[in-house]
Amino acid sequence: MTETGITLRAAPPASLWRSVLRFFYRHPNATLIALLALPLLWMVVIYFSSILQMVLVSFYTTDSLSGRIIPKFTLATYQQLLQPANLDIILRSVAMAAAVTIAAAIVGFPISYYIARYARGRTKVLFFLGVMMPLWSSYLVRVYAWKLILSNEGILNWVLAQLGLTGVLDAVLSIPSIGGASLSTSYIGMFVVFLYIWLPYMILPTQAALERVPKSYLEASADMGARPGMTFRKVILPLAFPGVVAGSIFTFSLTLGDYIIPGIIGNSAFFIGSAVYTFYGTAGTFPLAAAFTVVPMAIMGVYLLIARKLGAFDAL
């Protein structure tokens, strides 16, 4: 960076400009405010106020005739939210998000570890593209591709039939509550698609965290007599953990609020996202839709606080 060739002009261009700069130099707090003003204004006025508005609406009533929102405080919407049918939706979404997150952590770790520690040069670029390409090729088209893969006349069934394994699939599909008529209409199929769609979001931060583990630590651990397995458990895993937590923020949140995948794959049971979408679009149920958005807000709020404690924010 030393060869940039900095030429400082001796003559100050305009004294007013110069005194403005001097002012900021002498008042670091003013500099801070000047830097923060625009982005904070954007995030608070546009984003945060809108989010807050949703929380407020969840406590408002609607006019029974016109369906308009009346700013009168009520807890009736939350009573409605806690009815068994709605509670089922919440529990179903949380269970799916948890299952997808745990699976993503398990499936994502070995590949992240391989990329971070062993892949070099061309292999590394190949793996980078292999993870990124599906991530950025149209989300919708990939979900539909899975419908083609999982449906009864789809590729998976064809492959299983060729291998003579149709019986295995039927056995899996006959498992009560998570099975179904075909993979594309069952929770198992939905789970696979969710896992597929959000897996890169787990791999990327995990791999980044693994790459930040200094080689010297591993050498030190080995020098002090730790076997590779022990180094892995005592050095690598704890250092990679914040990365896994950072990834889990995405896999959990994205599964929790998705309404497109449950609409295309699965047995059309409601998830939080589909509930928000439907109630928002129906006259008079806007407060309920708002209350349904407060659920992921609350869950993710707690989740983020825990994630921060675990050091995940530095691993994003």
Binding site: L36, Y47, P110, M133, I155, P200, G257
Partner: protein, 267 residues
């Protein structure tokens, strides 16, 4: 124990390649069915292969309009996000102040909360203030969740660079702006570009927030695809469109990869 070039055990290698296969198999399916001769049904294996769908897509004006809208939205949203993200990174990277943690949490929120929450919240605000839905409302929504990718990249780079360079520059008589122009900006440039490219790709493929912030006249590429997909006859054309988007985002990602790797190699 020598660990210059450690070799992976075969189960690890197998697991890694299995996951890559899992991740890319559906992309191959998309490619395959972009060439199928069948219009409506999708049997495997496809009865024949053809390239007619590329020609069909080429003549679909609505596709090109949607593509143009998407490129415009992504470009402007990325520029806004880069400006806001840079300012935030400069403010938050070195100084400690009350509320700093809150601000970094606030920036993260639009991607840590499900898209439908952001989408509906923005939509009802836009409604409330009587702002007409347009391309600009889409851009506002996209810029909001794109700030974090730029911010994260910039902050990571600033954290690794040493503050002594700035001090040296100031000691030599440079003004704050000169220091920014000649020291800070060159240090951040590649990180900003990488963050910007990720923001672009993020905006380009976003559907949920877009769905809620777009007016009836605006069709971005994902919205076009969303309207396309339920029509089985248009499925091969849609697959061609998907291939097209891959071809657009892939170079951007490769560039972003090169830019962020450069600084990490020796770490």
């Amino acid at each position: 124990m020598r660990s210059d070039q450690p070799r992976a055990s075969w189960p690890l290698k197998l697991a890694a390649f299995a996951v890559i296969a899992f991740l890319n198999f559906p992309v191959l399916v998309i490619f395959l069915y972009a060439f199928t001769t069948e219009e409506a049904a999708f049997t495997f294996p496809p009865p024949g292969l053809t390239t007619t769908w590329f020609g069909v897509l080429f003549q679909r004006e609505d596709f090109w309009r949607a593509l143009a809208t998407s490129l415009q939205v992504a470009a402007i949203a990325t520029l806004v996000a880069m400006a806001l993200g840079t300012l935030l990174a400069l403010a938050l990277s070195r100084t400690k102040f009350f509320g700093k943690e809150m601000i970094s949490l606030l920036v993260l929120l639009p991607i840590a909360l499900p898209g439908i929450v952001t989408g509906i919240a923005l939509r009802s605000s836009i409604n409330q203030y009587g702002i007409p839905f347009s391309m600009w409302t889409i851009i506002i929504g996209h810029a909001t969740f794109c700030v974090v990718t730029v911010y994260n990249n910039a902050v990571a780079r600033l954290r690794r660079s040493s503050p002594s360079m700035n001090e040296a520059s100031m000691d030599l008589g440079a003004t704050a702006l000169q220091t920014f122009r000649y020291i800070i900006l060159p240090t951040m440039a590649t990180a900003l570009l990488a963050g910007g490219l990720l923001a672009f790709a993020l905006s380009f493929d976003e559907i949920i927030v877009t769905n809620f912030t777009a007016g009836p006249q605006q069709q971005t590429l994902p919205i076009w695809i969303y309207n396309q997909l339920p029509r089985p006859r248009d499925r091969p054309v849609t697959n061609v469109a998907a291939i097209f988007t891959i071809l657009i985002t892939l170079p951007a990602l490769l560039v972003a990869y090169r830019l962020t790797r450069g600084g990490d190699e020796q770490a």
